[in-house]
């Protein structure tokens, strides 16, 4: 059973994000970039399935600028067997990425695709769902536990939902998106970092995959959240109710 894990290169979670002065986007110049933390969980899950003898191969896929190679090397240092980089300088939106991944799935025929449930930069939470729809496969999103059946034709996935946990049965092949509590990703070992350098990394392009990645959405403006104004003390409940009614107009 082959598992495909899409990984995204995003601004490092420790970095204080700054908006460009012209409001056109987030300033990425000279900023540390890392693997999307949800994707680390996805790689870890795939590698554990391989270590348990359930999966036979783990393939990491990324799309974006050439520097995404580093992210794929990290994925391979964590245990992915090989990787595919779809190189483009175009701004990639969820639908474009889903189409790219569909094209890769058509070629690779994995039994399971494990994307992170969302990326910490745009927080879109769409790619996994769109990919499942394009492939016509079942989807199990926000997974906190994945148990593959003995005959590998299906899996029981526990999902984190508003009311608690929900367990669903899906048939394979399927798309399973990860939540943070699915597992705790390991530290890459030094020998594996060295070995990752020699693992195969295949490069392709959207054109070669026959996918038009032109953005469908236009970003009008990116702005920092408004600074919180200082609060005021109210004299009594009546004053509070009055403010809520007449000033904030929420009741």
């Amino acid at each position: 059973m082959k598992i495909l894990v899409p990984v995204k290169r995003v601004i490092d979670y420790n970095v204080k994000v700054r908006v460009k002065s012209d409001g056109s986007g987030v300033d990425l110049a000279n900023v540390k970039m890392s693997m999307n933390p949800f994707d680390e969980v996805a790689i870890e899950e795939a590698v554990r399935l391989k270590e348990a003898g359930i999966a036979s191969e783990v393939v990491a896929v990324s799309a974006g600028v050439a520097a995404c190679q580093e992210t794929l090397r990290t994925a391979m240092a964590l245990g992915a067997d090989r990787s595919i980089l779809i190189v483009t300088d175009e701004e990639l939106q969820p639908l474009a990425v889903a189409k790219l991944l569909k094209a890769v799935c058509d070629k690779e025929a994995p039994q399971m695709v494990i994307p992170g449930k969302q990326a910490i930069d745009d927080d879109a939470n769409q790619t996994g769902q769109m990919l499942a729809a394009l492939l016509g496969w079942p989807q199990a999103t926000f997974a906190s536990k994945v148990v593959v059946n003995a005959d590998k034709t299906g899996a029981a996935v526990t999902r984190e939902i508003d009311g608690g946990l929900e367990t669903i049965e899906i048939s394979l092949p399927a798309v399973v998106t990860t939540d943070l509590r699915l597992n705790e990703p390991r530290y890459a070992t030094l020998p594996n970092i060295m070995k990752a350098k020699k693992k195969p990394l295949e490069t392709t392009t959207p054109e070669a995959l026959g996918v038009d990645v032109k953005p469908r959405l236009k970003t009008l403006k990116v702005a920092e959240p408004a600074k919180r104004a200082g609060g005021v003390k109210v004299a009594d409940v009546a004053a509070l109710v009055d403010k809520l009614k007449n000033e904030a107009k929420v009741i």
Partner: protein, 601 residues
């Protein structure tokens, strides 16, 4: 409380631009050490240091390593979490970073090891000593041990499954190893029985590994007096069977541990060998050559301890900076009735933070440059180039050791000062860095020992030739500085030039005085070591500034480069200016050092 964040940007800059990692990567055997691989290694080491080792630093200090009599089987229990962290550390392969691939190591260059070691030491000084000692002991065995000893021990040590120690010191034999009394009695089977007591044995016992490999200095019955009669033995905690499995418990016991000013989580053992019939040991190399073997690896150990100085500067700086940003006290200097501001706005706090930062960057740059020179000295095909680099490394090791660690103490102390009263209480964590940093200027040879090594063995013996060559190299850079535009470079050029002249004058005085009046030369040895550190540190800061300016001219927009130029200028105007004062204290200070009669003290 903030955890340690590895200064990856500066580390990468120093490795690439100052230490020449791309040239190191061309050396035979280091072909794998490409820039992108090293970036990946540093990234992961940074994660481990910040995520696993740093969170254990304060709890480890509070709990400390514990010794117990344990019904006649005395031993040490490590603070909570250390055993698990060490297991993960070893399983992640970090112990084998520089080890020979023959023994399962990764064989990466020393300069890469330097950056990674700095991280371990910044994150958790006490923890870092265990792998440091293991690496030193393994190196001694790989250079001097028999094939059998190497087969028995090196793979396990590279994997970190067994750890290593260095047993040199005895109560009467500290800095003076000629006074060693431990005995080794030859046995019929070729082994030896070791008897004696050793003190100050770092990680002499602990519960993190299956076995502990002690390297012990002792005398055989026929040994001559003094340093020429010392042999080195390997004495494992558990004897090793022919098939590599662990056998009986050896007669080597930790009978107590010391109560110390700092590094509380690092067990400093009193070791008793042979109290119950004799500890079984095997000779390393030949009899009576133990001290010589010890000195082969002494340079490596001293370099490693020098990195503790860099690490202390960095860690203390990070915490002080974070505190200064948060702590609001007083209105802005020169403003009446304005709002209260974070103390980072106050000029004196800024001066302290800049001092800390400048020292961290300068000690790091110097240490990595020496590390890279070591790689060239060991691996380069050109003999002349190897020799030149080895001479530079030999000259600079006592400086990296002595200057960086003394500076680390000073910077950790400034870190406490930035915190004010909050720094003097333990809760903020600033005090621990000062307590932990204090040992680095003592063990592996005190600063005084380093300074005497510098002026004697490394200078006087060769008429100061290597120092003179280094001064010439630095003068060439000073000529480049003279060409650079702007007030920052005018200041750097002026102060660096003055520093160079001070160093040249004091260096010549040391060389001239050492023969006729060695006591006068020795009286100025430590100030001279500090002088070499400040000027060569200033040299690296000046190099960094010139490179940064070239990058800016080439269109680089990373603010890192402008910061570098400003920090280099700060170093020049606030630290390099001490050079002349130090030179004066060397040439003129000796007259009064020994003048007071001993009974007037």
């Amino acid at each position: 409380m903030s955890e340690y964040v590895a200064p990856l940007r500066d580390m990468q800059f120093v490795l690439k631009e100052l230490a020449g990692i791309d040239q190191v990567a061309q050396l035979p055997g280091y072909e794998d050490a490409s820039v992108d691989l090293i970036d990946a290694v540093l990234d992961e080491a940074a994660k481990f240091a910040g995520g696993v080792l740093s969170p254990l630093n304060i709890p480890g200090d509070r709990e400390g390593a514990k010794w117990s009599a344990n019904d006649g089987k005395p031993g040490v229990t490590m603070p909570a979490g250390f055993k698990e962290a060490y297991k993960l550390f070893a399983e992640s392969g970090w112990t084998g970073l520089q080890s020979d691939p023959e023994w399962g190591g990764q064989g990466l260059p020393k300069v890469v090891g330097a950056a990674v070691t700095e991280m371990w030491k910044s994150a958790n000084h006490a923890f870092s000593l265990c792998p440091l000692l293991t690496g030193g002991a393994a190196e001694a065995l790989s250079l001097c041990g028999s094939e059998t000893l190497q087969q028995t021990y090196l793979e396990k040590m590279a994997a970190g499954v067994w750890t290593g120690t260095m047993n040199l010191t005895e109560p009467q034999a500290g800095s003076d190893l000629s006074a060693i009394r431990s005995r080794a009695e030859p046995q019929a089977d070729g082994s030896y029985k070791i008897f004696g007591q050793k003190i100050f044995i770092t990680y002499g016992d602990h519960d993190m590994a299956e076995n502990i490999v002690h390297l012990v200095l002792a005398r055989t019955p026929t040994a001559p007096e003094g340093v020429k009669g010392i042999s080195m033995f390997v004495v494992p905690k558990f004897l090793v069977n022919a098939d590599g499995s662990l056998g009986e418990r050896n007669d080597a016991w930790c009978v107590s541990i010391e109560h110390k000013l700092g590094i509380h989580a690092s067990p400093t053992a009193v070791m008793a060998f042979g109290d119950n019939g004799g500890a079984i040991g095997h000779l390393v190399g030949e009899e009576n050559r133990g001290l010589e073997y010890m000195f082969i690896m002494m340079n490596a150990a001293r370099f490693g301890v020098g990195l503790e100085g860099v690490a202390a500067c960095e860690r203390a700086y990070q915490r002080a900076r974070d505190y200064a940003r948060d702590r609001v006290q007083c209105v802005e200097t020169g403003v009446r009735g304005g709002p209260k501001v974070p103390i980072i706005r106050h000029p004196d706090v800024r001066r302290m933070l800049m001092t800390m930062r400048a020292y961290a960057e300068a000690t790091r740059a110097l240490a990595y440059v020496v590390g890279a020179a070591h790689d060239v000295a060991t691996r380069h095909p050109d003999v002349a180039l190897r020799r030149r680099n080895q001479a530079f490394v030999d000259l600079m090791i006592p400086v990296v050791k002595g200057w960086s660690t003394e500076t680390g103490i000073q910077v950790a102390s400034i870190g406490v000062q930035v915190h004010g009263g909050m720094g003097f209480i333990e809760e903020t964590g600033a005090a621990q860095y000062l307590r932990d940093a204090r040992i680095s200027a003592i063990y592996e040879g005190t600063t005084g020992i380093q300074a005497n090594d510098l002026i004697g063995r490394k200078m006087a013996r060769e008429g100061g030739a290597t120092l003179k060559a280094l001064i010439e190299e630095m003068r060439a850079l000073d000529a480049d500085l003279a060409q650079a535009a702007g007030e920052h470079f005018a200041a750097i050029h002026r102060r660096f030039g003055e520093g160079l002249e001070a160093l040249a004058t004091a260096g010549q005085w040391i060389v001239d005085t050492y023969g006729p009046d060695v006591r006068a030369a020795s009286a100025g040895a430590v100030p001279f070591l500090m002088l070499v550190g400040i000027v060569t540190g200033g040299w690296q800061m000046a190099r960094a500034a010139l490179i940064a300016q070239a990058k800016i001219k080439a269109g680089e927009t990373d603010p890192f480069y402008q910061d570098k130029i400003i920090t280099a200028r700060f170093f020049a105007d606030n630290i390099l200016v001490q050079a002349q004062g130090l030179a004066d204290s060397i040439t003129d200070g000796a007259a009064s050092v020994m003048a007071l009669a001993e009974d007037r003290f």
